[in-house]
């Protein structure tokens, strides 16, 4: 590996291929950079900003920033982790996240990343937004209270399923997830449990019904090991309803099913 296609991440030399972004190269090298809207299977989006790093002294989202030869990248620093914690706190107060009563607890990337970043309180005043629940679909429940607007379901449905079941509407703090139906109900879309979009939610918005507690809390992905030690929690394994393998950690939603 020549010097020309490596950069350093917190002092460690990381090789990269042309076209890879910083986080993609870091993941391939087994180095964890906190993230939520990034999923290695999808085109980077760059919206949650959790993966912010300092590249040659300038802060940037590592999921969209391409490395340059010899670039000096800092990620696991007190300053950056403080900022990540504040971003997580923002996501917590913006929605309604009640981990103890959430069936995604233990499989939730927001929760796991908050533990990883040692977030002890929401810090900011809660917004307590009034958000809907959509239980119209026979197999799946949508709990918009937990949406962090990462748009992974939007991308999965559009780019993989070719369906456009999900989209973002509204603007600013009123941005929200919508579904592709005149009624606004999931049951009236062509959504299916076999869709990629059914399995990419990093939090607890898109939930398969009647299996929420099949795996007890305490024995779930992030109960067993922290998110930083769980390689590619949302994507490296082929995701699908029956994709569990012995060698790779199971997909959080899959584990429930």
């Amino acid at each position: 590996m020549s010097q020309s296609n490596t950069f350093t991440l917190d002092g460690k030399t990381i090789p990269y291929n042309e076209g890879q972004t910083i986080i993609q190269a870091a993941m391939a090298a087994g180095v964890y950079i906190p993230h939520l809207c990034f999923n290695p299977e999808f085109k980077p989006h760059g919206s949650c900003k959790l993966c912010t790093v300092k590249a040659n002294g300038r802060q940037t989202a590592s999921c969209t920033q391409h490395p340059a030869p010899g670039m000096v990248v800092e990620s696991d620093t007190i300053e950056i982790n403080d900022e990540r914690r504040a971003l997580l706190q923002m996501l917590f107060v913006e929605g309604n996240h009640f981990c103890p009563s959430c069936e995604k607890s233990g499989n939730c990337q927001l929760q796991a990343t908050a533990y990883e970043m040692k977030m002890m309180s929401p810090h900011f005043d809660q917004f307590f937004p009034d958000r809907m629940l959509d239980a119209s679909h026979p197999e799946y429940l949508l709990d918009f209270n937990r949406c962090i607007l990462c748009s992974l379901c939007v991308r999965a449905s559009r780019d993989v399923d070719g369906k456009n079941v999900f989209a973002l509407s509204g603007r600013g703090i009123k941005s929200h997830l919508i579904v592709n139906a005149k009624s606004g109900r999931l049951a009236d879309t062509d959504f299916s449990g076999d869709d990629k979009a059914a399995h990419v939610c990093p939090v607890g918005v898109i939930l398969k019904k009647r299996v929420g507690f099949t795996i007890p809390i305490g024995q779930r992905s992030f109960d067993e090991q922290p998110i930083s030690a769980t390689p590619h929690p949302q994507g490296a394994c082929p995701v699908g309803p029956r994709s569990n393998t012995a060698t790779l950690p199971p997909h959080p939603t899959v584990k429930g099913g």
């Binding site: 919206s47 900022e83 504040a86 923002m90 913006e94 917004f127 989209a167 509407s169 603007r171 600013g172």
Partner: protein
């Protein structure tokens, strides 16, 4: 019997044909479709969805982004009060209250008879002749109690907008100090003739020699931008004029488009010749919708003069035309990559950059995006040469800058100065007395106190897109900052976490301070929020959202201190207020239903 979808097809099909069923024109189609019912009917989306082959979710997603596109019924008269701080200073809130009480409607709602809906909107660019409003997207200036009374009567009598007194719509230019641009007596075609005479290479060289920098605020070298775009490979090149003049306090582009449109379009045509573009767009903010017919007429006239269209001035290889796209109430679309997204009929979310528009712009093709004033200035350079232009202004800021002056002064309006003019000079010229502060370049710019009035308007000192809002000693600078913070909250696109949530948090903190529940702790919190937004936000809106507060805390601390009931920590949570719902439900308001402390303070 006519089915619901046929009803909509009748008015939608002509719109769709004009736009050749092009999904890139979705926003334009929605704007026109809305004129039929005053909102986008749910059945209309079915028809658009099938005709444009776009999912409903995409159409609703786009519609939901823009303030002036409605998915729910609105009043027959949609009344929006401009809510910039300058409108506030001229009493817009009292006028809105008066209109609402006369017509029995609440702000943010529709009257029970469906006659009207009333709300506020971000600065509509009439700060020199406010308070301003828009009725069904058409601008009305100089609101007074009598004008509001007359408007109430017209609405009550259901007089169509076209029959309202013309003086309500008489928007003024108010040019107070013209310089080389505003005084140029420009002859249409002259700059193009000069270009054809000197050639594109030489003219581009002149633009570079002139050291012209973008007038939208960022100040990128225009010559370099055009050169990068000219050299970038692509199937098509595009020229885009950014007339989404949304920065509160700025209104120079409105005047340029009203009185100098020929010059602006000619500047775009110069650029097109230099970069090899066949198509250009003028992205006109929705608030300037009333200028559309005028601008279309100027374009048509230029086509007749052979200054646009095919074989321009007899050159068989010179084909270029301009299309006007309307915005629909989204400040963020003034950011060039968000503007391009909007031109493509999408939600106006800023793109990840690089790549930049010069290589990957409209439809991912090389695109020049420049401000209205930049294009107009390029005509002067084509006519008089780069050295002539570079000699005006300062070394690093050549040429002139048009300032939009408003607020507490005798003569608000447009002032064009060579770069390097001091703030004090502008204040003298506009007749400002007892000035406490000047907000330069709008909420995202800087707030200047009297000890800085000797500073200069120039890229090397105070860069500006043009806004110059004056506040005299009677004004409360805390309220100025609070107004700006609310603006950013309303206009954040919501894409990235820090800006989406941070602008709301900041707005809540300012409201908390305003309600007397603040403490010095909140200042430290605002400071922390600023660092976070600066370092992690996706675009300039988030980067600058805390500026108004930080600037005013630093320079006008007493305005904040007087709101601190406590010099130490005070919990934001008010127990007595929290009980109000319980009181309401039980119908109680006696002593026992209140907490002791707050009862005593009554």
């Amino acid at each position: 019997m006519v089915s619901p979808i046929d009803t909509h097809a009748a008015y939608l099909n002509p719109i769709l044909s004009v736009h050749r069923h092009n999904a890139n024109d979705l926003l334009q189609i929605l704007i026109k479709a809305q004129e039929h019912y005053g909102y986008i009917h749910s059945d209309a989306i079915d028809h658009l969805s099938s005709q444009l082959q776009l999912p409903r979710s995409k159409i609703e997603g786009v519609a939901g982004f823009y303030s002036f596109i409605y998915l729910q019924p609105q009043g027959c008269y949609r009344v929006l009060f401009s809510d910039n701080i300058t409108d506030r200073m001229l009493g817009n809130m009292d006028l809105m209250e008066s209109l609402c009480s006369q017509l029995w409607v609440e702000p943010g709602k529709i009257s029970e008879d469906g006659l009207l809906s009333v709300n506020t909107t971000s600065c509509t660019g009439l700060c020199d002749q406010g308070p301003a409003m828009q009725v069904n997207n058409i601008a009305i200036n100089r609101l007074s109690q009598s004008r509001v009374n007359a408007i109430c009567e017209l609405i009550r009598e259901r007089v169509p907008l076209s029959a309202w007194p013309v003086e309500f719509f008489a928007i003024e230019d108010n040019i107070r100090r013209p310089d080389v641009l505003l005084d140029s007596q420009f002859k249409s075609g002259s700059a193009l003739h000069a270009l054809l005479q000197h050639g594109t290479v030489e003219t581009l060289q002149q633009i570079k020699t002139s050291k012209l920098r973008g007038r939208g605020g960022a100040g990128f070298s225009t010559g370099m931008k055009w050169e990068f775009c000219r050299e970038a490979e692509g199937e098509q090149h595009y020229v885009v004029c950014n007339a989404d003049e949304g920065e509160p306090g700025t209104f120079k582009d409105r005047v340029l488009l009203n009185g100098y449109a020929d010059m602006v379009f000619e500047g775009m045509t110069l650029c097109a010749r230099i970069i090899g573009a066949k198509k250009g767009f003028l992205y006109l903010r929705g608030e300037y919708r009333y200028l559309l017919e005028h601008l279309q007429a100027v374009l048509q006239h230029r086509r007749h003069q052979n200054l646009l269209g095919n074989n321009i001035l007899g050159n068989s290889d010179f084909n270029f035309d301009i299309v006007i796209h309307l915005g629909a109430g989204a400040y963020i679309c003034g950011e060039e990559s968000a503007l391009i997204e909007s031109l493509e009929g999408k939600r106006g979310t800023p793109r990840n950059r690089p790549p930049f528009p010069v290589t990957h712009g409209y439809l991912n093709q090389p695109t020049v995006v420049n401000n209205v004033e930049t294009f107009a200035a390029s005509c002067l350079i084509s006519l008089h040469g780069g050295e002539w232009y570079a000699a005006i202004g300062t070394d690093t800021s050549s040429g002139t800058k048009i300032l939009s002056v408003s607020g507490d002064c005798e003569r608000p309006g447009l002032y064009e100065y060579p770069f390097g003019v001091t703030v004090a000079q502008v204040l003298t010229d506009c007749g400002a007395v007892n000035t406490q502060a000047v907000q330069i370049s709008g909420p995202s710019g800087v707030c200047i106190a009297p000890d800085e009035f000797n500073r200069c308007i120039a890229f090397e000192d105070i860069p500006t897109a043009g806004a110059f809002m004056v506040f005299d000693q009677s004004r409360d600078m805390f309220e100025v900052a609070r107004n700006f913070v609310h603006f950013f909250k309303h206009e954040s696109c919501g894409f990235c976490t820090p800006c989406r949530v941070g602008t709301s948090l900041l707005s809540n903190m300012m409201d908390k301070l305003s309600a007397g529940h603040g403490s010095p702790y909140d200042f430290a919190e605002i400071e922390k929020l600023n660092v976070l937004l600066q370092s992690t936000s996706h675009c300039g809106l988030g980067h600058s959202a805390c500026n108004p507060v930080l600037n005013t805390i630093a320079k006008f601390r007493p305005a904040y201190d007087k709101r601190l009931a406590h010099k130490d920590f005070v919990p934001a949570f008010d127990l007595d207020v929290a009980l109000s719902q319980a009181r309401q439900m039980t119908g109680r308001d006696d002593t026992g239903a209140h907490l002791e402390r707050s009862h005593e303070s009554k």
